[in-house]
Symmetry: C2
């Protein structure tokens, strides 16, 4: 069984407090005692009970991370950045998924709160999701930083990508390649996609292209089989007069799926239709064809978000002015848009 402070104290004929102090290298304790205690502790593989420590000190040295969906490449990379930063700062992180369900998001926040964390990193589902829970957390003195979804209404630091500009650049690129009829596919109700749509429109405008309503497709993510949905919606458009010569996909998931659909339909990309989209897939060049993509600086976003959070944790009760940071995306041109 696990050994406790008391056990050590008893074994060495010391008091628990002496042992505690010895282990934390208190100046009050003699070198000799420290040595004895530490040796004994090491030998018996003593580990302080964090639960008890937490209860006493109120500090957990742990940051909670609630992500919408770890399977997503972008999110996985974001997490990677968070983890890198947390290791450097010597914090533990507890990861939870909301799986794009607001109930689970709320629940995850609650669990973390009850369990004890020093701060929370969150990619909120919607612009006002879990607001109450988040405010309560803040009222308890636990800072929150929002990542990716910077459109959320909570007042705090937010770190995301420059979605407008990413979409703008991709659109300009297509226009420069001579595309005239550019389709836009996005997910319904995703906050980030709003900015991307604006960027798309601005790109069209600056390229003297008109926005074609028939070529604007909004997929409802909630209805499970995305690929089916895309296919159902896309086929009639491709057969119609409105047939596009390029597609801009606003999200990671949609980009890959659209490519899959086009491959299924044996539509040649980019010959028949050029494709570009937001995507952080690490396999862009194994896709059919190699994918031109707007890449988000996911790792950096994670690191920066974490950094902002620890800043807040370590500067309690100071007044801070909150920032919203939009990191630049990168346009990586491969074959699919040429």
């Amino acid at each position: 069984m696990r050994i406790t402070l008391k056990d050590i104290a008893k074994a060495l004929n010391l008091s628990a407090s002496t042992v505690s102090k010895a282990l934390s290298d208190s100046y009050e304790i003699s070198a000799e005692t420290k040595k004895t205690v530490k040796e004994y502790a090491a030998k018996h593989n003593f580990r302080p009970n964090k639960v008890a420590q937490n209860l006493k000190t109120g500090k957990t040295n742990t940051v909670g991370v609630v992500l919408c969906n770890i399977s997503n490449n972008f999110v996985a990379q974001l997490l990677d950045g968070i983890q890198t930063a947390s290791e450097a700062a010597n914090y533990d992180i507890i990861i939870m998924q909301s799986r794009n369900q607001e109930m689970l998001e709320k629940q995850a926040i609650e669990v973390l709160r009850m369990r004890g964390i020093d701060g929370l990193l969150l990619t909120p589902m919607a612009s006002d999701s879990s607001e109450r829970e988040l405010r309560e957390l803040q009222d308890d003195g636990i800072p929150v930083v929002l990542v990716d979804r910077t459109f959320h209404s909570l007042e705090t630091h937010k770190v995301g990508a420059n979605n407008f500009d990413g979409a703008y650049q991709a659109t300009i690129h297509l226009a420069e390649r001579g595309k005239k009829r550019i389709m836009h596919i996005t997910g319904r109700g995703l906050g980030v996609s709003k900015e991307r749509f604006k960027g798309f429109l601005a790109g069209l405008e600056d390229s003297k292209l008109k926005f074609i309503p028939e070529l604007n497709l909004e997929i409802d993510y909630a209805g499970q089989p995305i690929e089916e949905l895309i296919k159902e919606n896309l086929v009639p458009i491709l057969k119609s007069e409105a047939r596009p010569d390029a597609i801009f996909c606003a999200t990671d998931e949609i980009t890959s799926r659209t490519l899959g659909v086009l491959a299924d339909l044996e539509i040649a990309v980019p010959t028949d239709i050029a494709v570009i989209g937001f995507s952080n897939t690490p396999n862009a060049n194994a896709l059919n064809p190699a994918l031109s993509a707007v890449v988000q600086p996911a790792r950096k976003m994670g690191e920066l978000g974490f950094q902002k959070l620890t800043e807040m944790i370590n500067s309690k009760n100071k007044e801070v002015t909150f920032e919203t940071i939009a990191l630049d995306t990168e346009l990586v041109i491969r074959k699919s848009s040429l």
Copy 2:
């Protein structure tokens, strides 16, 4: 600030213990008192402090999950299964990544142990990684279940895939398609790949094909840029007499990367070389070309692993005979191997 049991007690002129009992619906408490207490608690948004609860009861209702690398499709799906099962069982899970570093694996286990968990789910890095830490956990009465990497030496329940058979089937498939010179690419030191290699050899043998040593490539995962490594090693082989007419890739990562490399080299798949491999990518049909794959039942594996774990948690001190379960893989034929 957060409200505590005591606060409620004070406010209602009750004792803390009465409040505690009322909230847990103890039969000792009158309906009326229960009602008052619960209403007050709800109104003031009381949440029991789990840390204190844990300290007292020793139970955490939490399971630790240590995964090697969440970015991997297979692992992400595994996690999905674990999470589904944990939600059903009303357990919280704490996810940590070992990122394929044994030190981080040990550390993650330690953190979880100190923090308090009722059980651990682990995809161990190597066949004897973190053995001491795991045994200690078991000695503390905290059960451990190993997932995916069933070759680990710890005595406990293990849930993985039938790697031998998956590889065997893929190899047989290639042979049936008339392939004679089948290459094998795998990762160095990955435990699961050993079984897969055996299956590959058995498949060759049963197809009356000989194993060609020049067509056996072992990639060292640790050295970062996998794609570069594959390319470096593959190019000379493709130019040589030994040129294969098919490739069997033993891991998810290698499969995607190999496809990317072949695309870069403008080698036509499957015309020039057929490809099949272990892969759980959700974008198999967006790849170039649509990928034939050995798919692992990742979600099921996660669910089953979690289930085994809760079984152990709830049947403490009973003697159990440990099983090692090998779930069947699925061979999904698409274009790349035809």
